[in-house]
Each structure stands twice: as structure tokens, then as C-alpha cells.
Symmetry: C2
Subunit: 125 residues, 2 copies
DNA sequence: AAAGACTGGTCTATCTTGTAGACCAATGGA
DNA sequence: TCCATTGGTCTACAAGATAGACCAGTCTTT
């Protein structure tokens, strides 16, 4: 929006919220966290749980969540290999806010769908 | 992940959470909602507030949020044109969950950055 | 014994999404 | 007169996501 402004201002840490939301709000992270909130899971198990995530995105998402300290990765020297993903304390502490969010989503999903349909109708006139 | 499965299962409304998060968790929506939570704003004002959003994405995000019933759009027949965006009741009801989320982000941002730095260090070995 | 499926990923080619920047038409200010 | 402002849209390009092949070793089924 303001190309000159970014040069003027030092943009190290915009605001915590931005930084966190950028990572969390990426289509898959919340889903992965919610799934791992239910139980520790292995890679393919998680893939089946979320179902329509590609292996690559699952891999990337897990790696980022691990980097950010939300989850931990345990590799077992077995054959076939076993890799388990578990929420860390930080990850678990996020379940509260996430639960409130999903609860809101659950309660208001109907209203959103309704609004969406009305908008479609209005558009088609 | 499971290409065959999507044919078997009717995928009308996966789950409310998925549906809502897909819309909300898109880089900009939460930012726009948070900004409009502070006060009603006009298009360019909002653009300046968020600063690094492109006009196109701002436009699209606003349109989607309006469609989903989070915000309302008021056009004033003035010159230069004036368009104001305001949260609806639904939008305002979302501020609670959003606030809890941003509060968590605020409190845990430090831990996340720390974890991120450690990960970078471990990687460079 | 051979074929297939499972493990946890990575790689590449393609498709979709996002961004930057030009552009619009009318008006106010310097 | 020249530039900024209003709320956008359009287009060309860059970045991100996806599908699908592939790997090497083991276990199960036929």
C-alpha cells in the first residue's frame, strides 16, 4: 500500500499478533494443532486425519510448527520408520484460545452460510 | 492425500470449523476485523492502517467478509466517493474470540521467537 | 515367489493465489 | 496548472500450493 513507508520504518517485529497470525493463519496450521490436540500422531495418520492436505504441505506445516515450538518431533529407529508428533507445553497452551475460536465457528456457522446465500442471491439479480 | 476418498464422501459442509477457518485464516481477514473492531473505517483509511496490504487484496478481503456477514458496506453518494466499512453484530461477536487469540499471541510471542532462534541455530550446525 | 501396501518424506512440474503498479473520473488545494 | 485524494479494477508477474512420481526397506497377501 505504501511502498515508501517500508523503507522508512524498521520492520523487525511488526506486532506480535501479526507475527503469530501470519504463521497460524495459513490454512493448515490450526487444523494440525487441533488434530494433535486430540492425540499424538504419526505423519501419515495425521495426513489421513486432515485428509485433503498434501504430503508436502503437511511436512512444511509440521516443520514450521516445530520451529516455532508448538510441537515436538520424536523419531524412533524402527523399520518401517516411526515419527510421532506431539504438542509441547506451548502448543497445549494454545488449545484454549483455539477451542474458543472453534466453538464460535460452530455456533455461528449457520449465520455465515445464510449470509453467504443471501449475498449470492443479491448478486444474481 | 486421499484422491479416491473425495469421490466417495459427499463434501458439502466438511465441518463448520474448517469452513470458517478457511475464510478467517487467510493472512488478512483477521487483521481487517481487528482494525474495524477499533472503529468504522473507509477503504483507504483501512489500507493505511494495515499498511502492507495491496488494494486488490483489501478489496477482495472486504468483499468476502461482507458476503459472510462480518461487515457491512455503506456507500455515500458524495464526491469524492465515501465508502464506510463497519462490523455487523456477527462481526462484533467475533471480537471476543479474536481478542483471546491476540492476547495469547501477545503473551507467547517471546517464547515463539526464542524457539525459532534455537531452531535456526540447531540447523546451522 | 511376486505384487502390493506401508513407512516418512523429497522433488518437480503445474496450477492457483497474491502483489505491484497503472489506470479511471471527478474534485479540492497550492 | 499540477498534484493528491476518493474507491476501486485490470493486467503482468512472482510466490505459494498441489498432484503425483519416487525412494529403500519390510510386511502381508496371493
Amino acid at each position: 500500500m505504501n511502498p515508501e513507508k517500508t523503507e522508512e520504518i524498521e520492520f523487525d517485529q511488526p506486532c506480535p499478533i501479526r507475527d503469530v497470525l501470519d504463521r497460524i493463519g495459513d490454512q493448515w496450521s490450526l487444523l494440525v494443532l487441533e488434530a494433535l490436540g486430540r492425540k499424538t500422531m504419526r505423519f501419515n495418520e495425521l495426513g489421513r486425519e486432515i485428509d485433503d492436505i498434501s504430503r508436502q504441505m503437511l511436512s512444511r506445516t509440521l516443520r514450521r510448527l516445530e520451529e516455532d515450538g508448538f510441537i515436538s518431533r520424536a523419531i524412533f529407529a524402527e523399520v518401517p520408520p516411526r515419527v510421532e508428533y506431539t504438542l509441547t507445553a506451548l502448543g497445549r497452551s494454545f488449545l484454549g484460545p483455539l477451542h474458543i475460536l472453534t466453538q464460535w465457528a460452530d455456533e455461528n456457522h449457520g449465520a455465515i452460510c445464510k449470509s453467504r446465500k443471501l449475498a449470492r442471491l443479491a448478486q444474481s439479480d
